[in-house]
């Protein structure tokens, strides 16, 4: 029998979003429905504290200067299982989820195009080390149709949708038809939060203070100061015309660990003490996130995000493309930059064929959107039909999950029978039907009623 408890791990390369689902009628006494714990997916050494923190323990860290990171993921893929196990051990322990893995099911996310040899190791840890009763493994985007991101327009998600997942390691454009990822049209932009923080570190270190070892601090500076510009060259002019005194520049006050102060943006007219050190965030504020839209600014030979979305949709069946343009959803922490939505909308609008409408769905909490969708998936009555059980694994090994989990290996190409069936159905249905005439306004903002942590 399927256990009542399902452990949910949105296992990102920077952070794990972890929680428990107790089934459709389950009580969530200690955790309100859908709330997750955010656990850094890293082993972190603090020189100042003379301590090494594993995953969730990082919240005990006092001195965030020159933190040294050991990450289980390399370029978005899980390669360091020792580090991963150390973090997972903590997540399952009484300090976080307090769960008996052998009496639970598991829903875990994996990277897009995960390698088959890495997938086998997922199976080994899930069943041989943690002895889960059963599990399902899928990408973050695959959970989205179960969540609420696209559901403001009706009770069920549209048949055709595109998920843009901009995370720590990279950004993916993922088209989905009837819950099935269309792998032949999935595209990857090699820009994510890690690259952006590192680029900011480098610029600031060259121009102002040496911050090369201050990943934690510079990530915070990025999150509090950076935005996506909708008028790049105008903003460049503004910064140049009156350096240190213009509408764009912000003063980021560096943390002072001797008095336990955190990094922050200086408020207007705020007095600073003599020991405060200030970082001037000038055109760094917008030239950093700009790389999502112009990767060639640092010589990366890839199209920007909008052109990548258009390239992805152009690979999909012709008569369904209108539905994809009308159902684009944003998830992942790097979609949170102020101005991201506005810039993407305006660039996408210029690429949308005139006969189609463009509609972009936003989450109130893009970072945990996949977690909350996974939570809904785990509570779906059909979830038990998607899992591989430990029993099956012990019988046939990883073949069990290769058969069960729909992955890119088993992906179908366009023109396949399943798709032409959908094509015919979509012609006779109202919902999501591509409009033939351009209507005004062509862009609509929709924010899903997500929950904040």
């Amino acid at each position: 029998m399927q256990p009542q408890t399902t452990v949910i791990l949105d296992n990102g390369a920077s952070s794990i979003k972890a929680g428990l689902a107790r089934g459709p009628e389950g009580d969530d006494d200690d955790q309100p429905k859908g709330n997750s714990r955010l656990v850094p997916n890293a082993i972190v050494r603090s020189k100042g504290d003379k301590t090494t923190y594993f995953g969730h323990q990082l919240e005990r860290c006092r001195d965030y200067s020159a933190l040294h990171y050991r990450l289980p993921f390399e370029k978005g893929y899980l390669v360091d299982w020792d580090a991963q196990k150390a973090v997972w051990d903590g997540v399952f322990s009484s300090e976080v989820l307090n769960v008996d893995t052998a009496e639970s099911s598991l829903l875990i996310t994996e990277p897009y195009f995960n390698l088959p040899n890495i997938q086998d190791v997922y199976d080994q840890f899930v069943f041989e080390e943690y002895e889960f009763h059963s599990y399902h493994r899928c990408t973050p985007a695959a959970t989205i149709p179960f969540g609420r991101l696209f559901q403001t327009g009706g009770p069920s998600p549209p048949e055709c949708l595109v998920v843009i997942d901009s995370g720590f390691s990279f950004t993916h454009v993922v088209p989905i038809i009837n819950n099935q990822i269309q792998w032949y049209a999935v595209k990857r932009l090699d820009v994510g939060g890690k690259l952006l923080t590192n680029q900011l570190k480098e610029l600031v270190s060259y121009r102002q203070w040496n911050m090369m070892d201050e990943t934690y601090i510079m990530n915070h500076a990025k999150e509090t100061c950076c935005y996506v510009s909708t008028r790049f060259f105008e903003d460049l002019e503004t910064c140049r015309s009156n350096p240190k005194k213009n509408s764009i520049v912000r003063e980021y006050v560096l943390p002072n660990f001797s008095i336990n102060s955190h990094g922050r943006v200086r408020l207007p007219n705020e007095e600073l003490s003599a020991t405060d050190q200030v970082l001037h965030m000038e055109n760094e504020r917008f030239t950093i996130p700009e790389l999502l839209f112009r990767p060639d600014d640092i010589g990366l030979e890839q199209s920007g995000l909008a052109a990548t979305v258009a390239a992805s949709i152009s690979l999909l069946p012709h008569d369904l493309r209108g539905m994809f343009w009308a159902n684009i959803g944003l998830i992942g922490g790097s979609t949170n930059f102020p101005g991201f939505y506005e810039r993407l909308s305006s660039e996408l609008l210029s690429l949308t064929p005139v006969e189609y409408d463009l509609q972009i769905y936003r989450s109130e909490d893009a970072m945990t959107e996949a977690y909350r969708s996974a939570f809904a998936f785990a509570n779906d009555p059909a979830f038990p039909t998607h899992v591989v059980t430990r029993e099956e694994y012990l019988e046939v090994g990883s073949n069990a999950s290769r058969r069960k989990f729909p992955g890119w290996q088993s992906s179908s190409a366009p023109g396949d029978a399943e798709i032409s069936k959908i094509t015919q159905e979509s012609m006779t249905e109202d919902r999501g039907q591509p409009s033939r005439k351009p209507s005004r306004p062509r862009v609509r903002t929709i924010t899903a009623p997500g929950r904040r942590r």
């Binding site: 020159a66 390698l115 040496n210």
Partner: protein, 169 residues
């Protein structure tokens, strides 16, 4: 913490070469920069559980220790059990992504199967724009020695003093 003025630290380069750079050297420089942007730490010692001072940072060639085995979570329910062979292998022998891609043989799959290798975004269709490598403003000029863009004479001299050719190998 005590951040230092970065510019003052940077070494000066005086050995100038006369000719402009070949495109393949610029490509190599860009590639190396993009690799640097993948780093998790600027300096890369490995972490061990040894918490007393500098001994915690050990060199690359030390025998690999498993950190996940040495953890005591003070969980009374935690049962000490032996990991399976496969799990122990994964814990002990870390492979980098390039090796794993090689071993996965995804490069040898039929060309209609989409993989990590085929999913990269298409090349840019817009011409590249020149931005000053010193200040980030529009860079109208390129350094004669290393081809990095700069915007004016001020940035040109900062570039020449600090960074010129530093990325060239």
């Amino acid at each position: 913490m005590a951040p230092k003025r970065a510019r003052e630290q940077a070494p000066r380069h005086v050995n100038a070469t006369k000719q402009t750079l070949a495109p393949d050297i610029i490509t190599k420089r860009t590639k190396r920069h993009l690799e640097e942007l993948e780093r998790s730490n600027y300096t890369e010692p490995s972490i061990t559980l040894d918490d007393d001072g500098e001994g915690a940072i050990s060199g690359k060639n030390r025998v690999r220790q498993i950190v996940s085995d040495k953890r005591y979570l003070n969980d009374p329910n935690a049962k000490k059990k032996k990991s399976s062979m496969k799990v122990r292998t994964a814990l002990l022998y870390r492979k980098n992504l390039a090796t794993l891609i090689e071993e996965s043989r995804i490069a040898h799959l039929p060309c209609h199967v989409p993989t990590y290798l085929t999913a990269a975004a298409p090349p840019p269709h817009l011409p590249p724009r020149l931005l000053c490598s010193v200040c980030g403003y529009k860079g109208a000029y390129k350094c004669k020695k290393c081809a990095m863009p700069y915007c004016d004479m001020n940035c040109e001299s900062v570039h020449a003093e600090t960074r010129c050719e530093r990325r060239v190998i």
